[in-house]
């Protein structure tokens, strides 16, 4: 096993959605920069959109929505806890990004006049733009990477960031998941775009890799940002999604809603006014599952044959193409049977909810020279288009940083400690198998952290996670591939501890099911109308603290504030 040292100007970690965009934009901002895109899998098919995407969930398109409307909608959907500046930066740049992607060859649905065919799924405004032919999006990105001459390296697993004596970023360390070679990459600026912490909860099937998020996104980015001293935010605002029971994709109301599909309970009644994924919507969904009117279904059997075949074409070729195969195995034909739904395992993902690394409106984290974008960067409900917009911002900010800063010195001790930590599981003769430690850890996550959250259960959970911390020193990897799984267990454990501590810190309930606390059932705006942050302090302890919410750019009227709390369809008395 060798140690390989490299030096670049901008290092982008994560080649999924935000990462390629960041790399392209850094290179476009200054073609002289050496930009390296480091990917754990293979950039051609990596990340959350490896098989494409069937639509934009948050397109802000002139004539259909304004940035102000969008900022208002997300502020209300996220129960007021947003830094509006970051959401506004997204909203104002969303349309230009759509136009650029369109020029690059991404296909969006248009009506007969050539206008974008925007649909309404949210509670208030219209932001959903279908992409029935969205399966090529990774190819489009790859072409741009080649055109701008971004350097790419695949199958490298980044494990820790390097920081200089003044705390600013100095690079990152990684290992090759096929050879176990250790890489030290010096960089002036780093972009973290490692996706969600998708392997946190265990799916109810018990299958480790049956997660909603691409399981390659194991929370490595959250862990790296934390250990580098970056501030994280809203970790207690979990990601929980309504999915097909036993399958890891949505049924999917976003795609089928505009065609006439809808969510029902077992009595065939609608119970939610709006299918947009918010914490409150998940709360209503959970109540229906638990309250005797479950299970919950997606109903399509009333639709015309041609409508159903269109839906099948979209849902069975895009984003989650094995969905059709799953339905066939269970004998589910949309024409005859409702699609049974259930709720997913928990995860951390700002693309869907709000948990992530704290960033400003230029994608800058609190660590100088470190930027973040995509699912792991805290810009609530940012989805794929948000990953592209913040990828662009992160790339441009990185290029600007490089113009003014030289390399930070590399601390040899940091490198040596990390090399020992990474290689240790290969060097042990006997030890614990990574998949067993992962299974146990994630089962504890379910047992102790799955909402509704209970204080005492979460406290015991923290003790269990401490127990797993000791087990990390006994992980045994038989080869470089298993070493990747072993190091992922480290990251998952960090995320589990963050999820528990952040949830204990916020002593109120907010965001519906995402942070429903049995012991503190009410929303408490007096004490908790603020961001709850988390970071590693100077003594290496995980600490929580409050950050005030910046004055809103778009005021929220008293009459609108609770719009997302009134999702349940009123039953006539």
């Amino acid at each position: 096993m060798n140690t390989i040292e490299t030096e670049v100007d901008v290092l982008v970690i994560g080649g999924g959605t935000a990462g390629p965009m960041a790399a392209v934009k850094a290179k476009q901002a200054n073609p002289a920069l050496r930009v390296l895109l480091l990917e754990k899998a293979n950039v051609k098919r990596s990340g959350a959109i490896s098989m494409g995407m069937d639509g934009l969930n948050n397109a802000v398109i002139p004539g259909h929505a304004t940035p102000e409307q969008y900022v208002r909608e997300i502020t209300i959907a996220n129960d007021g806890i947003v830094n509006q500046k970051t959401v506004m930066a997204y909203a104002t740049q969303s349309f230009a990004m759509i136009e650029e992607l369109d020029r690059w060859g991404v296909k969006f649905e248009k009506d007969e006049t050539g206008d974008y065919a925007v649909k309404k799924v949210h509670h208030m405004g219209s932001y959903v733009l279908p992409m029935p032919e969205g399966h090529d999006i990774k190819k489009v990105l790859y072409r741009q990477l080649k055109r701008t001459r971004v350097e790419i390296t695949n199958r490298l697993v980044a494990t820790r960031l390097l920081t200089g004596p003044d705390g600013r970023i100095a690079g990152a360390m990684a290992f090759d998941c096929r050879t176990a070679d250790f890489h030290v990459i010096r960089a002036k600026s780093v972009v973290l775009a490692c996706g969600a912490a998708g392997r946190l909860g265990l799916p109810s099937s018990g299958y480790l890799f049956g997660t909603y998020e691409n399981p390659t996104n194991a929370g490595d980015g959250y862990s790296m940002a934390y250990h580098a001293g970056a501030e994280l935010s809203g970790i207690e605002c979990f990601q929980i999604n309504p999915l097909i029971k036993d399958y890891n994709g949505p049924a999917c109301a976003y795609v089928t809603g505009p065609f006439g599909g809808y969510t029902t309970n077992a009595e065939g009644q609608r119970f939610i006014e709006c299918d947009y994924w918010s914490g409150q919507m998940m709360w209503e969904f959970y109540q229906e599952l638990q309250g005797g009117k479950g299970p919950v279904f997606l109903k399509l059997d009333h639709l015309a044959e041609e409508t159903i075949s269109t839906i099948e074409t979209i849902l069975h070729t895009n984003e989650r193409p094995s969905r059709g195969r799953f339905h066939a195995g269970r004998g589910t034909d949309y024409r005859e049977r409702l699609v049974e739904m259930h709720i997913s395992e928990i995860g951390l993902c700002s693309g869907h909810s709000a948990s992530g690394v704290w960033v400003d409106e230029h994608a800058r984290t609190t660590v100088p020279g470190l930027h973040s974008a995509g699912d792991m960067a805290c810009v609530p409900h940012n989805y794929m288009l948000g990953a592209f917009v913040y990828g662009r911002l992160a790339g441009e900010s990185s290029a600007a940083w490089c113009a003014e800063h030289d390399f930070a010195p590399v601390d040899a001790d940091q490198v040596e400690r990390e090399r020992q930590r990474v290689w240790a599981p290969l060097q042990r003769e006997h030890g614990l198998p990574p998949n067993q430690v992962e299974f146990k850890l994630r089962r504890f996550v379910n047992d102790h952290l799955q909402p509704p959250k209970v204080t005492r259960k979460m406290e015991i959970g923290l003790e269990r996670f401490e127990g797993i911390r000791e087990d990390l020193d006994h992980l045994k990897a038989r080869d470089a591939h298993e070493l990747m799984r072993a190091m992922e267990v480290h990251a998952i454990r960090d995320c589990a501890e963050m999820a528990a501590r952040a949830s204990l810190y916020r002593t109120e309930s907010r965001w519906g099911l995402y942070h429903a606390r049995i012991d503190y059932p009410e929303r408490n705006d007096t004490d908790w109308f603020c961001h709850a942050q988390l970071k590693k302090d100077d003594q290496g302890r995980m600490t929580s603290f409050k950050r005030a919410i910046e004055p809103y750019l778009v005021p929220i009227a008293e009459t609108e504030r609770n719009a997302y709390r009134e999702l349940r369809i009123a039953v006539p008395a």
Binding site: K44, R45, S46, F209, R325, G329, H430
Partner: protein, 80 residues
Amino acid sequence: MQYAPIAFTPHAVPVSVDADKCIAHKGCTVCVDVCPLDVLAIDLSKGTAYMKFDECWYCMPCEKDCPTGAVTVEIPYLLR
């Protein structure tokens, strides 16, 4: 002390490769390259691709991108 399990032999894995269609012996590694979890490998003695690690996300790039249609992804048994 015994460390290796003796009773655990996976017989059915989600990804199967048709040996007659697979052209790994000609240098093709497409399915191995595109897998996000890096679970496929080439069996050098047989010259075909196979599922080396049972960690499938059933996402299907391996099947879609295979130039000869040799790869089939099934939903893992636990989820079927």
